[in-house]
């Protein structure tokens, strides 16, 4: 089932590549396959038993058992949520690309390859083939930026690629060490996420580290080093300040269709890694490193918000805003790792924070994709101009566009009734009791978000009409129809977040439980 899900877009990509000569045929097939993928993802969402806490639809196949490599896939609430999100974002992005004549058949194939990579990443449970997908998703993304980006695409793509690769290599070395630590005579060691998490909970992992890897005199230090190496891998991808410097130029130089994919789906891979790897396998280390982690989380929330305010380019503004929003996720994950002892109340707060993180992932994916979609439409009308000061009074010229953009911005800002609100609310609800000072400082970020988003609204949509754009056409019927479901979903999620929280409840509860077990040494 899950294998099929992953293979479907991959096959689609190959089919589209074969048809790449004809752009029309390619885009039709791409949309067909993307829709199919969404349907499959939706099916798995539907089929998932929300009450069951562990992995579902698991598949096990021996791959290279002597090297601890098994083909192991499965999903829980988190996985299935990410599958649906990726499928939706891909379809949204394709909808925008539909009319972008520059993007030929190969582009569509790359999008589907990227989707396959995303699906694989969100379902694989053995490090090795998870890593295959993790890297595989990077390659199409790299070429999408490199080949279809703006003027500074070469440098942006290089930065994007190299930063991520540094993270990946660190991550790989960390897992090699874990494999090495868990191997004993006659047993090759393990790369399995689930197995490693269980080992971490039972304390077996620290024993193994003490036995097999004792550099620097103590296994504690070794484990800490491994944690930071793995952290680097995810932190670059998410990104966490100060590893974010690749992001603004990559997002800005990539075409908006690509940026939708980058921010809507790929940035979630980092947070997914925090949840799937760092939290279950390194709970103790996270807790020991809580101070620097929290500082980084706070910095990720606050600094980009200020930076966004200072930007003159709409895409850069929203790029920074994207970092800021993922900062909440990082904060949520970090506080969930706090040492709490047996306090049931605090366990509740942790669950709240984590639920908030999941909601935020989904909701930010949706919102950010919608925002960049709208920016793409704006760019198309303005002939590529997208400076904040280039426009003015658009509300009067293109009211429908402005209205929809307004909804998206407000969702991003966290206005109650839209999807951003419940997510951020839950995160802060959990974070305040667990890490009061960090949460307090982070509120500054919320404030600044409001400031810069309102600045955008003010400069672009209000104010005096810029005569240059008086003839700008409003959204066409097709565009409106295409955007409507997305915005509707944002509204629905804002009003009825249980749609998601219900799905992930048992998963989150399971995490909280196992984490407290893992901290008992």
């Amino acid at each position: 089932m899950i294998t099929l899900l992953t293979l479907f877009p991959l096959v689609g990509g190959l089919v589209v590549l074969a048809l790449a000569a004809s752009r029309d045929l390619a885009r039709v097939m791409a949309v067909v396959f993307a829709t199919g993928s969404l349907v499959l993802a939706g099916l798995s969402w539907y089929a998932l038993n929300p009450a069951h806490p562990g992995m579902q639809f698991e598949e096990w196949h021996a791959w290279a058992p002597s090297l601890g490599i098994w083909y192991h896939v499965g999903v829980d609430g988190l996985g299935v949520l990410m599958l649906v999100l990726s499928a939706m974002v891909v379809l949204m992005s394709l909808a925008v690309s539909w009319r972008n004549e520059k993007q030929g058949g190969v582009y569509f194939a790359l999008v589907l390859f990227l989707e396959a990579g995303l699906f694989g990443t969100f379902t694989a449970l053995n490090f090795i083939h998870w890593f295959v997908y993790w890297e595989l998703s990077l390659i199409p993304a790299f070429f999408m930026v490199r080949l279809w980006g703006g003027k500074g695409r070469a440098k942006a793509a290089a930065q994007f690629f190299l930063y991520t690769m540094v993270g990946s290599v660190a991550l790989m070395l960390a897992f090699l060490a874990l494999f090495q630590a868990t191997s004993t005579a006659g047993h090759p060691g393990t790369f399995d996420f689930v197995e490693l998490a269980q080992l971490a909970q039972s304390g077996g992992l620290s024993t193994a580290l003490a036995q097999n890897l004792h550099w620097f005199g103590s296994s504690e230090h070794t484990a800490m080093l491994l944690f930071w190496a793995a952290f680097l891998g995810f932190a670059v991808k998410t990104p966490v300040v100060p590893f974010h410097t690749w992001l603004p130029s990559a997002y800005a130089e990539a075409s908006s269709e690509t940026t939708m994919l980058l921010t809507g789906a790929m940035s979630k891979m980092g947070v997914y890694g925090f949840l799937r790897v760092l939290l279950p396998i390194f709970p103790h280390q996270m807790q020991q490193a809580m101070k620097p982690l929290l500082w980084m989380a706070v910095a990720t929330i606050v600094l980009p918000a200020f930076a966004a305010w200072a930007q003159k380019d709409l895409k850069r503004t929203f790029a920074y805003s994207s970092i800021n929003h993922l900062g909440y996720c990082v904060l949520g994950v970090c506080v969930a790792a706090q040492l709490t002892g047996a306090d049931a109340g605090l366990a509740q707060e942790k669950a709240a924070a984590l639920t908030g993180v999941l909601l935020q992932m989904f909701s930010h994916g949706l919102t950010a994709a919608a925002l960049f979609w709208l920016i793409a439409l704006l760019e198309r009308r303005s002939g590529g101009l997208r400076g904040i000061d280039d426009f003015g009074g658009l509300r009067k010229i293109v009211p429908v566009f402005s209205g929809l953009m307004g909804i998206a911005i407000f969702a991003s800002l966290g206005l109650p009734g839209l999807n951003g609100f419940p997510a951020e609310f839950l995160i802060f609800k959990g974070a305040f009791p667990l890490a009061p000072w960090a949460s307090s400082v982070s509120v500054l970020g919320l404030l600044m978000t409001a400031v810069f988003l309102l600045t955008v609204i003010q400069k672009v949509f209000s104010g005096p009409v810029n005569p240059k754009w008086e003839a700008m056409p409003d959204l066409t019927v097709t565009e409106r129809l295409a955007l409507a479901p997305v915005l509707l979903l944002m509204l629905v999620l804002g009003l009825y977040p249980q749609l998601i929280t219900g799905m992930v409840h048992s998963t989150v509860t399971q995490w909280v439980l196992s984490m407290s077990a893992g901290m008992k040494f």
Partner: protein, 510 residues
Amino acid sequence: MLAWTIYVSFIGALLARLSPSKGLARLVALTTAVVSLGIGLVAFHHWQPGELLTVTRVAWIPQLGISYHLAADGISLTLVLLTGIAATAGILFSWNIEKRTQEFFAFYLVLIGGVYGVFLSFDLFLLFVFYEIAIIPKYFLIAIWGSVPKGATGENAGSLREYAAMKLALYSFAGSALVLAGMVAAWVASGGHSMSFEALAAFPFSAHFEMLMFPLVFVGFAVLAGMWPFHTWAPTGHAAAPTAASMLLAGVVMKLGAYGCLRVAMMLFPAGMDPWGFHVLGLGSWRDVFALLALIGIVYGASVALVQRDFKFVIGYSSVSHMGFVLLGLMTLTQIGLDGAVLQMFSHGVIAGLLFAVVGRMVYDRTHTRDLNELGPMQLAHAIPFAAVTFILAAMASIGLPGFSGFIAEFQVLIGTWRAFAWMIVIAGIGILVGIAFTWRALTKAFFGEPTPGLAAHALPPITFPEKLGALLLLVSTLTVGLYPRILTDLILPTLQSPLFEGLRRGAWR
């Protein structure tokens, strides 16, 4: 039957030389390579895990206890398959050779025959004979059909080719001279009764003797494996060679060296890797020394590749870097490290072949330049998209992206390294990163350069069918091993348990 890989190659060489027409010579060569590959595959299919497949064993020079002993274990078989693949692909990529075609394929097939012979020899003397047979054709392939940078013409071009060819031949020969000295000493020390691997591996040489012979023989072979600081023949040789020869040089001939290191130096003189009992600069054994040299090679090769302007030199230095992983893996003396090293031999063989095919055949033969700065404005990604796609895939494989064979190999070497020399892992990691950087640089500079305004994209001849076929063969190989590494690890791992490797299985062996 495996022995026929050798015979078929030599017979093919003769037939190719005698062919009345160029077309026939090509067909003969291709048939020969495909038949050998087929033989390799059949043997692979019938091979039982852990088996030592004796092919032929007859007394050859009975007075000296030398026998004509051909056999194959999993490691030999892996490399025989590699040779078959690289040879077939190489011929497909040489389809456009018009200059002295018959001779070209004759030399080429003699080289292949020698390589097969080395991998199948289970007698030290025989191995050495085949090892040296492989040297001479290399010289002529480069000196006669080699490629030169743009601008070098006439006399100058000839001397550049000959310089590279001579350097390669002399380095190889100097290396093999060390091996010869070691071989003679080992034969005498073991009583002069036998040269077979079984007998020599089982003979209890004195620890002192092994301590002396191991570095001698290891260095002798490692010269051909491109170990720093004896690597300098590799970049010049690879760059100057015609495409097919580069593919074979990097793909297979460098493996001869690594194979010799494993099969002769390590297997016969394992005690040479024991600690000296004292430390010099933190190094306590030959093993530490060679591991360090391998590591330097990894980082050095990658760093130098990062600043090359000549496309072929980039790939040439990358080979030095990748072969560093093989040597590092060997020196870990762990099961997983050795497995990784052998796998890396296969993987690098295929990937380097692919890279050289793109650079030498698809790009150079069409644009007649290897200068990255000149290639950039040609918009090759649009002019020859097939080459671009192939190179992208090859580059992905080369930097060790998961899913390709390079990943599974380097990754095992790294685990082994982590077990054996933990601190080195950080430097190896840096080496990988620099590797990613230079591959990326070459890729973007060569294929995705900025167009020169006012200059239309060059119209280049389209990629021919043999090229596509060759690229496909290599890509399928690397992907197959990358996605299903068991296909080879099931050959290699049981072999490492065989009695021949008894001497290596001690200490940290896991």
